[in-house]
């Protein structure tokens, strides 16, 4: 699953740490999600999308083969 969290962070001008604190995970977890190494749960994906005032599918998208 791909995501554009890095782009959204840049638009909102926030760091990984700020986003991590807001959604209650570690900064390393946000980094792992951004790099596509970890697929978050639905709850965490919705929290991240809500933080950016977007729908989940505007932040996360399925890739071919998912």
């Amino acid at each position: 699953m791909k995501n554009n969290i890095r782009v959204e962070r840049a638009i909102h001008g926030i760091s990984q740490q700020q986003l991590a604190d807001s959604v209650g995970v570690s900064r390393q977890t946000i980094n792992a999600i951004e790099k596509g190494r970890f697929v978050p749960s639905t709850v965490l994906a919705m929290k991240i999308a809500r933080y950016f005032n977007k729908n989940v599918e505007m932040v996360f998208a399925l890739e071919e083969g998912d």
């Binding site: 209650g24 995970v25 570690s26 390393q28 977890t29 980094n31 190494r37 749960s41 965490l44």
Partner: protein, 140 residues
């Protein structure tokens, strides 16, 4: 995310202290003193009390270390825990097979003394390695 059955982070330090003291006592009884209690009741004799402190203390210490929360306990950490648990169970199965095949007599007895802690020990080592890799790979 709910992380049930996990203890507060500060239990980890307590667990390490309990384990180190109990394990040293255990090794002393097993390899230096080489005397074992006949009874199993805790107040049977001083030797039985020492044995029980070593056995229960080691297990309690390891359990406290294994099941304490990380400073930030999120869903990725829970995933790393699950991964470590599966690998630890597999490895301990392999160890049991190998030791049953290749160890006999007194050495097998020593192996059995340690075997009761193998799953927890393997889990702790694999989980720490997973956490180390996770933090190292995701530092920028």
């Amino acid at each position: 995310m709910k992380t049930s059955f996990l203890l507060p982070n500060k239990c980890k330090k307590l667990g390490k202290a309990i384990f180190v003291i109990s394990a040293i006592l255990g090794f002393y009884i097993l390899f230096i003193e080489e005397s074992y209690a006949d009874g199993f009741l805790i107040f049977d004799s001083w030797q039985a009390v020492k044995n029980n402190i070593a056995i229960i203390g080691s297990l309690l210490g390891l359990a406290l270390v294994a099941f304490s929360k990380e400073r930030v306990e999120d869903e990725l950490v829970m995933w790393l825990r699950a991964d470590a648990m599966i690998k630890a169970l597999w490895l301990s199965c392999v160890l049991v097979f190998l030791c049953a095949l290749f160890l006999y007599g007194g050495i097998y007895f020593y192996y059995l003394s340690v075997a009761q802690y193998i799953v927890l020990l393997l889990y702790i080592f694999i989980f720490r390695y997973n956490m180390y890799k996770h933090i190292k790979n995701n530092e920028e």
